[in-house]
Amino acid sequence: MTTYTKPIPTVTADLQPFFEAAKRRELVVQRCRGCGALRFPAREICSQCLSRQVEWVRVSGRGEVFSYNVMHQVYHPGFATEVPYAVVVVQLDEGAKMISNLVGVAPQDIRIGMRVEVVFEDVSDEVTLPKFRAAA
């Protein structure tokens, strides 16, 4: 097994439910209990209604590519063999947006608006990263 060399995010208290869900192959985002707005990344306070009451809810994992870039510069040695690689912003069908990667799609084949669905990649004992692939 090759060693995983990319940055592994710290499982902070505010993101613990997210990573626990990812281990179960579920994608979750925050939902404000005040106004119902979905949000990601995790925040303490809802910027819509300023409520601090929040819960994590499962979403379908389906959405579309809202935007993307193609990184050519190596900022971390873990990506040295991957450049050029794409980073995408996925607009989830339920509302929130998420930074991620597309698996199985070459950067030049990515299009804004293409339908995608979540997949999960185990990167350490604690951390599983949600990524996306072209929807079937």
């Binding site: 990319k6 940055p7 592994i8 995010p9 993101l15 990344p41 809202f66 935007s67 993307y68 870039n69 193609v70 990184m71 050519h72 510069q73 190596v74 900022y75 971390h76 040695p77 990506f79 040295a80 991957e82 050029p84 690689y85 980073v87 912003v89 947006k97 930074i99 991620s100 990667n101 950067p107 804004i112 990167v123 951390v127 990263l129 990524k131």
Partner: protein, 392 residues
């Protein structure tokens, strides 16, 4: 009562710019203020206000302006603050200086930016893989982003630019027209880092990708150095060494929300107050100095100031009208893309030189009124100045 013409920029100090390693952020700031005082014919004891926009290497310390005061031995200031709206700070500092002077709180204010993110190059054998130098300085990642390889401001801006291309058909050649025009201006500016390096559209197209859709020459330089201006009351400005540059209009606009959704800067908000105060419109503007962290930022701000409609910035610049000799002189010193990157101080400084008639080989004939913008974050913060060499 309107603040039009109540304050003026009377001193300008620009240290050596770019790969300059003989000082640090504090030293560059001291030197910039000293140069600006000399330029104005003023002494340190004439200053009673100090506003600092701390660059990256200041690490955004809240006490930065006090640190600078101590470093240059200033006594008895009546106004002091570190301000940070990113690239909008320069125009916002000048606004605050004019307001404070007009309110009688102080008389003569230095506004300064400095930074020293570039480190001297190491021998090749010591260089580790990965992004160092200018790439490293702005290559930070937030939260989960690093896990997905999303590093730095370039990557975030690229997401917004891609949306603009998708919705409006903006192309890399459109962005390239801005880069090539600015380079032509830089070739006429002896202080520009790219003064001696011409660039054709072919060379723009052939420059390496940093993060698509941005080529290397869509992205601003990273510079070590300092830049300061001295602001004082208009009635005092007339007695000093330089032709005064009067502040006619000022405004800020910070729209909030997600710029990738709106594809809009704060210029639309900021220009309302600035043009109303100045009593001017776009037709009165002789020279335009827009904040250019990226070619794309210029394109969006041209739309938001109303030079063309939203979405039409690409075709608008494609004919080269922003280059020397064109109908819209834009970023006439080469901007941050081709001259030097002192955040919002770069466009301010070029407007001052143009309105003094001190533009040398790049002087825009009969430049009397300048539009200056500052933009911070990802189209997040914005400030506008309308400047003129006439008092009113």
């Amino acid at each position: 009562m309107s603040l039009k013409g109540r304050g003026a920029i009377v001193g300008l100090g620009i240290t050596p710019q770019g790969k300059v390693y003989d000082s640090n952020h504090v030293g560059f700031a001291v030197e910039a203020v000293r140069l600006a005082l000399d330029d104005a014919g003023l002494k340190r004891s004439d200053l009673d206000g100090l506003l600092l926009n701390p660059g990256l290497t200041w690490a955004d310390q809240g006490m930065g302006s006090f640190q600078l005061q101590q470093a240059m031995g200033l006594r008895n200031l009546r106004l002091s603050a570190s301000m940070n709206l990113g690239g909008a700070t320069a125009c916002a500092m000048i606004q605050q200086a004019v307001e404070a002077i007009d309110a009688g709180l102080c008389r003569t204010v230095a506004c300064v930016f400095s930074d020293a993110p570039l480190k001297p190059p190491k021998p090749k054998t010591e260089r580790a893989g990965g992004g160092g130098g200018s790439a490293g300085a702005y290559g930070f990642a937030r939260g989960l982003d690093a896990a997905y390889g999303q590093f730095g401001i370039n990557a975030m801006y690229a997401m917004v630019a891609r949306r603009h291309m998708h919705l409006f058909g903006t192309t890399n050649d459109h962005l390239g027209a801005i880069a090539v025009a600015e380079r032509q201006w830089a070739n006429r500016n002896p202080m520009a880092q790219f003064h001696d390096t011409p660039m054709t559209m072919e060379e723009y197209r052939g420059s390496r990708w940093v993060v698509e859709p941005f080529h290397l020459f869509d992205c601003c330089l990273v510079s070590n150095g300092g830049l300061a201006v001295i602001v004082t009351a208009a009635d005092r400005a007339r007695d000093l060494a330089q032709r005064p540059v009067y502040v006619w209009g000022m405004g800020q606009g910070h729209p909030g929300g997600d710029p990738a959704e709106t594809l809009t800067s704060g210029a639309g908000l900021a220009k309302e107050a600035a043009f109303r105060m100045a009593g001017t419109g776009l037709a009165d503007i002789d020279v335009v100095e827009l904040y250019d962290c990226y070619t794309f930022t210029v394109l969006v701000c041209l739309e938001d100031y109303g030079f063309c409609k939203k979405g039409e910035g690409g075709p608008f610049v494609a004919d080269g009208k922003t280059a020397p000799g064109g109908s819209l002189p834009l970023n006439t010193g080469g901007g941050q893309l081709s001259a030097f990157y002192m955040w919002g101080m770069t466009p301010v400084s070029e407007a001052v030189l143009q309105l003094r008639g001190a533009g040398g080989a790049r002087q825009v004939p009969e430049a009397g009124v300048a539009l200056v913008s500052g933009n911070g974050g990802i189209l997040s913060t914005h400030a506008t100045l309308v400047l003129s060499n006439q008092a009113a």
